[in-house]
Symmetry: C2
Subunit: 436 residues, 2 copies
């Protein structure tokens, strides 16, 4: 029976998950592949810590070169994370004719072009299903069975930390800071959570999805970013009263060859399937011109789910190697020559519905002054709420708008914030009603 040999760089949590797949499901992999698949070597600087999995003698090494240069290794799995030495190791693996599987979205966001060009040059495969949505097989769905579609939009809940925090804020009415602290204590948020809660991680993933769906390059720095740290318990409560939930969404829409690419807290209808994606679960909703809306849902992180996606890629490469079909499906879903660079729509030009929250003094005529300014910018009010029982002297006013241009909203809010009856800068959250 033929054999495919795998080398692993990085023996952390997900690395241990990969080892568990080999130990537990070796038979099922062979039964599906028609060949055996073997974990030949694992390199990590730390080879003494107990990861809860047994490794055969001679497999573990501190020397990455024993993976990168070993002539018998066909596929290298990179689970080191970060930029260096991950980038150098991946490039060296490619240089040595090895296929690469990685879960490293930061690496792909920054050095994806360089890595894919090197792989194309050398005729090896690079796959990265685990980099977006953990165990959810969304990249392979786009590259394979959904590939006859032109995609129209992408909506993703792609960061477990943010979704965990927003879910707990929603369920418990708790404030952001308190839940973040809890999340850090239980290990669902990093000590420095900026990367997650400010949406950077989500933007890395959205850039990959945009590339695969539309066949276009997008620079992560060009993606509009707003994190969840400004979301307050009171916004979540108002959202519920209007029939919405707040989620951190990655959003992209393609209209007439121009694309929107943005990450921000978004109100979505409570009965939308995405609204039930809670805790550390992730989901991606795509709309293709033929398939219509499709949603894929699953665990966005974790040792085992991520290992499933990593090993799914390894199996795909193994199938290609065994049948001589390396390069069967382009890494970015489109042939390199067909990949373009569609213009990004300026954020000021997007059209959305908006939730607006003002803190005003308790005087007659305040609502009229706010409504007049909105009207001057052609912003229609869809509904409005001024609740009972607010603090003395400060009245919250909540307005849901019809579709409006972002530039008009921002200009109107600037003007409203300069009114002497307005206490503090107004808040806004975009609303997406198109997710059925």
């Amino acid at each position: 029976m033929k054999e495919v040999k795998v080398g692993l760089l990085g023996f952390g949590t997900i690395g241990a998950g990969v080892v568990r797949v080999f130990q537990q499901n070796s038979q099922v992999m062979t039964d599906r592949l028609g060949a055996s698949i073997k974990l030949a070597r694992i390199a990590d600087l730390d080879i003494t810590t107990d990861r809860g999995v047994q490794v055969e003698e001679g497999v573990l090494t501190t020397d990455a070169n024993q993976v990168l240069t070993a002539p018998d290794i066909d596929v290298v799995i990179e689970l080191i994370g970060g930029y260096e030495p991950a980038r150098s190791f991946v490039l060296k693996a490619i240089e040595n004719g090895k296929h690469v599987v990685t879960a490293n979205k930061a690496l792909l966001a920054k050095y994806g072009d360089e890595i894919l060009a090197a792989a194309a040059e050398k005729g090896v495969e690079v796959m990265f299903e685990a980099s977006v949505g953990g165990g959810i097989p969304v990249l392979s769905a786009i590259k394979e069975n959904l590939c006859v579609n032109r995609f129209r939009s992408i909506f993703g809940i792609l960061n477990g930390t943010c979704n965990y925090i927003l879910t707990r804020m929603t369920d418990e009415g708790a404030d952001f800071a308190a839940v973040l602290k809890d999340a850090q204590d239980v290990g669902y948020a990093e000590a420095d959570p900026t990367f997650d809660i400010e949406g950077v991680d989500t933007a890395h993933k959205l850039a990959i999805l945009i590339g695969l769906c539309y066949g276009t390059r997008v620079d992560c720095d060009d993606i509009h970013l707003e994190g969840i740290s400004q979301i307050s318990a009171v916004d979540i409560q108002f959202a519920r009263q209007f029939g919405y939930k707040i989620k951190l969404l990655a959003i992209s829409k393609e209209v007439d060859g121009e694309i929107e690419a943005r990450v921000h807290p978004t109100m979505i209808p409570q009965n939308a399937p995405l609204a039930d994606v809670d805790g550390v679960f992730n989901a991606v909703r795509l709309v293709g011109d033929f398939v219509g809306p499709v949603m894929l849902y699953g665990q966005g992180a974790g040792m085992d789910a991520t290992a499933s996606a990593v090993m799914g890629d390894v199996m795909s490469i193994a199938r290609n190697q065994l049948t001589g079909a390396i390069g069967r499906t382009p890494a970015m879903a489109y042939c390199p020559t067909a990949i373009g660079k569609l213009p990004l729509k300026a954020m000021s030009d997007i059209v959305s519905r908006y939730y607006l929250r003002f803190s005003t003094v308790d005087k007659p005529g305040v609502v009229a002054r706010i409504a007049t300014i909105l009207g001057n910018y052609q912003i229609c009010i869809s509904s409005m709420m001024q609740p009972e029982g607010h603090a003395v002297d400060t009245v919250p006013i909540v307005i849901m708008t019809d579709d409006a241009r972002e530039a008009d909203i921002r200009s109107a809010l600037d003007e409203i914030d300069r009114l002497d009856v307005v206490h503090e800068p107004s808040h806004f959250i975009r609303i997406e009603n198109t997710i059925e």
Copy 2:
């Protein structure tokens, strides 16, 4: 540029969808495939009806042999439906060395073994993504990226007709017969709806999922079947009061090498993602030992969504043909030699929670007599409801049980139905709480 040529058998609704994909998305297919793909011939007995799509001169024929025997055609799409002539045509296409893509689950359920054996013998591919869940890429997900998992369970909403009817009954409080009539009027239900509403179609799809997930053959006739015709508006109303929705589910669980395979109305928690799958949408929820729960959601039927899945298969075969990788992934996800036949668990042995509804006379002691019989069979009551405002002389009693053996439930209900205080045969609906 290389070219792959496709022939189409059956120019009905989905056939017209396939033609639309070729006309509208030819460029996107070429950009992703790196080769051109052409619809060379369409055979249908009726070549005069307007399907709303233009076809080039010379492409349309009434002679299936012009597809089946044409030396230039690489892939044959079978969209005739039913058993014959679909079976003969598929076998002839295979005999002539052509790959086959079909959406015909009835054909696969009855003649799948014969067709796959012929294809293996001849070294051609047979793919059938569109046969389960319409446009949802669930079969390719199981065969490709999720393939390192041992699957533990399958839950599917797989029949659009049933889901449309149950959704309308739930939203409007309407009765089954009235909604069925409406569904027939708008074309969401066949004139003879038996195949759909009694769960036969769902069972065909479940048999395919079981094969791909567990690597086992299951005979459709061995799948336990209950349709939705016995569901009444009052059951839906009680379900809501207990926090549940009623869906027709395909269910399979694998425990210790034994599998459950059943199709029946099921109560699932209102906040479960599957509970929001409404109308003609379908969804499949799988649990793998590594990936954990994964749900895929989309349109289960319709011209365009089904054409997306059909053409996704065509693209997959084209990729294999272009790279010389025919046979890259086994049609049934496992190598033929690894496919076994796991024993089916007897329906009497399954364990579930149950919703029980009794119609009793309005006398003291009735609840006690029912509860005593349940207790005698070791069936624990989880909650109970006897609503106000019922008809004179007839009291509905609703009981939700803890986990109980099906055999015990049936024996207890038999005994209860023989009580002189019970008006009509009792109703039961199984409850699934394990879907988070």
